[in-house]
Symmetry: C2
């Protein structure tokens, strides 16, 4: 073995790349450094673990270290890459034991992911305050919610778990009132999870509607659903401070008519994530949107033979053709796989992203794609026209038909579809894939209106909600 | 009012056309002739009425005659158009009372729909034998299944119902064993409906797998589902005869190792439909696929100012660009609406059809689009390559994840996606819209593989089943 392909980070992007590379280039070495002990975990599954819907933490792991080894990948856990020398083509590695070593690379993939950005909030201070971007935090929250010492240790059945932290949290008094700071999808999913654990849940959101990226129509329906399920939603309520010294005691927030403090004994902060790029400090590497590492369509960075993929890397937006940063699971898997193939000698594009996202909030489902907000559309050079319709999810006479809101956004001049959202309780989320496909095909709204979509009473009315929305938006485009 | 627009047939296509025309050309007259008393009924809802899931027959009507009149449409029920004189631009009309009259037209739309084709079977002979393509048949089946004289007359709460036929069927002994002849989607939906009514149901299908148009992968899963729900499915079992004089007594069929007769007391024949074109006999009008009236992209026939739309008309296939005949609800509504606009002076294309269809079979859902069978693909000039994969509908750790089979068919030379199917119990059917959109955008399989489809554990795994199928099919295309 020689010409090593060195991968930094053993999650979605890193292991996809290493696995693909291993299959395509069996004669070359591949080394994966992971600073922690966790590998291959499903970040998106954490709220469902905390809710109790997923029984064991190990269910969230898609590959064990031994399975990775069986693939012929040299996985080194507890090894943090702390520096890159692109001229010498080496990385500097620090082991958990404090050793320092150097590793040559022929090709390097930075797949370091992202981490929760707690904003101005001190989540490392009081007990009972958490962010949610790693498995240790999920295990700790889960243990903290349990009655003191009633925690089932089989739940966190993974070697990598920080058992000390879990046990410390399990010993604390069980919380009764939870605040979630941030009404993005992590916040919404956590609201459902914590209600499922019997807590009194309060969700704070800085702006006027939840799930800001999904547009107003989605935000309103999801807020109504959370409300119906017992969550107290406070929009336009910026949180100012987590109150408490040893343990979280309250949430200080701007109630509109003045500051207020809500007593809570659990706080989960989900206000954003940021890319992990520190290992590249001191290099000339270019960064872009969101501070993520700038990549071309093959995932290569501005440094030769250095690639980046996943939550730490930029991607190209399918609608704007411009650089964007949307840290999501499919993007990471796909880009990792493409880099693995490219480095192995089969140049493969990572593929554009359309900004497709879906979220479940109790019995409500929502999806979004492309450019929805006026400002984002204008910035990208479009003149956005938007319509929202409410249509049935099935034939009106078929039981279970439910109101589905579809928002479509088009460019006034060209009639091109540039974004959309769907929300409703009946199979609403997965319908967003239809819009994602139309977006990536650069379809106009008249073309969308002529799509031959499925009709059968249990699944869709004759005119699918998407077709109804296209018809209405076309009417608006025609008027002008 | 003058320059009359005459429409023949008051269902999906005819009333969509008349309504659209009325709005766009308020100064012109629009007359709709309907030979029967029924208008605007949801053919696709009939199995669900018979099942009892839809409470009243009137729930299946989308417009009442008085609502049509309120729209300013001159609706004349009980008026059969029996001839067309394209030179004189007149139609000959026979009323239910036996009167004959002539009506001028400026533009004519033939929207006469289709009717059940009973094949070689005598469904008009014995009691208890039915086809299912009109509301009177649905009401009669529903009444026949009820215990003698226990029929709830509120069920068939529509003036247009043939009450004599309903009462006669309601008085007959209730059946216990039902045969369905034909395993297309009507047959499959009726199997579910009749099991729902407590009958012992036997489904006979001529060829080797149910739902022939959906491909083998779907047929097998649906057959297994019917079997699990207590339906006896007999494939490769051509029915030879309905046995019985006054009342149906049995089904004579080819059991493979010889003829056999199954005693039944209800038979529903669903072996096909044919277009209603008799009123054009004696004209030079061109017909095409399936004997349907040939139309151009605006719905105009070979006769000037004569249009056709809906189940009696051809359409253009999105994949082949060739003429096709797929009698389905959306096609009818869409083509009718386009003709209404075109005749009113705003030339509008009906839109291609992709052959999209979905069906529910108990807890199984299936969808199909484009060209699936080898022979159809070859006839259209493609060299088809096909792969079927089984993938999870959700992240494996999320409860409710279910096996979803996706079949994709591509053209070997170009890599273009030309057809596909999806089957599974968890939100499988509506996913076909993604493939329909990809087909209509002429996407290649590599393009499908790069689609940014939705991912969230409750709705889809990281790699949606469609992406998994595209990946596998690309592998096959690459090998060759």
């Amino acid at each position: 073995m020689s010409d090593p392909f060195v991968v930094v980070g053993a999650d979605a992007a890193g292991l996809s790349a290493a696995s693909k590379f291993r299959r395509e280039a069996p004669d070359r070495e591949v080394v994966v450094f992971e600073k922690g002990r966790w590998i291959s975990y499903a970040y998106c599954g954490m709220p469902y673990f905390i809710e109790g819907r997923v029984e064991r933490m190990s269910d969230l792991l898609s590959l064990s270290p031994s399975e990775v080894a069986e693939r012929g990948i040299d996985l080194r856990r507890g090894c943090e890459v702390v520096g890159v020398d692109p001229d010498a083509k080496t990385v500097a590695v620090e082991t958990a034991e404090g050793e320092r070593l150097e590793q040559d690379y022929d090709d390097l993939l930075v797949a370091t992911g992202g981490r929760a950005d707690p904003g101005p909030f001190d989540v490392r201070g009081p007990d009972g305050a958490f962010t949610l971007h790693d498995m240790d935090a999920a295990a700790a929250i889960d243990a903290y919610i349990a009655e003191p010492n009633a925690y089932d240790p089989d739940r966190a059945d993974v070697d990598a778990v920080d058992r000390g932290r879990v046990e410390r949290n399990a010993a604390m008094p069980a919380p009764e009132t939870a605040a979630i700071v941030g009404g993005g999808y992590v916040g919404v999913e956590m609201a459902e999870a914590l209600v499922g654990r019997g807590l009194d849940v309060h969700l704070f959101h800085r702006s006027g509607h939840l799930l800001s990226d999904f547009g107003e129509a989605v935000g309103e329906r999801v807020e109504a659903e959370l409300d119906a399920k017992g969550v107290t939603v406070r929009t336009n309520a910026p949180v100012e401070e987590l109150v408490g010294d040893d343990r979280i005691e309250g949430i200080a927030f701007d109630a509109g008519d003045g500051p207020e403090t809500l007593p809570v004994d659990l706080a989960v902060v989900g206000v954003g994530i940021r890319p992990n790029t520190e290992l590249l400090d001191g290099t000339e590497i270019e960064t872009g949107e969101g501070g993520a590492i700038r990549t071309d369509e093959y995932g290569e960075t501005s440094l030769r033979n250095v690639y980046a993929a996943g939550d730490c890397a930029t991607a190209t937006h399918a609608v704007t053709g411009e650089e964007t940063w949307v840290p999501l699971g499919l993007t990471a898997n796909r880009a990792g796989r493409a880099v693995g193939a490219t480095v192995a000698g089969d140049p493969s594009r990572a593929g554009d992203i359309a900004g497709t996202a879906v979220v479940k909030a109790f019995d409500m489902e929502a999806g979004r794609v492309g450019l929805i907000e006026e400002e984002a559309a204008r910035e990208a050079g479009f003149d956005p026209v938007r319509e929202t319709v409410t249509a049935g999810s099935r034939s009106g006479y078929y039981p279970g038909a439910a109101e589905t809101d579809v928002t479509l956004v088009a460019d006034r001049d060209t009639g091109r579809l540039i974004g959309g959202s769907i929300v409703g309780p009946d199979r609403a989320a997965i319908r967003i894939d239809t819009l994602a496909t139309a977006l990536e095909a650069d379809m106009t709204v008249p073309e969308v209106e002529r799509l031959d979509l499925a009709y059968a009473p249990p699944f869709s009315p004759v005119w699918d909600p998407i077709l109804v929305a296209a018809k209405v938006l076309n009417g608006t485009l025609d008027e002008e």
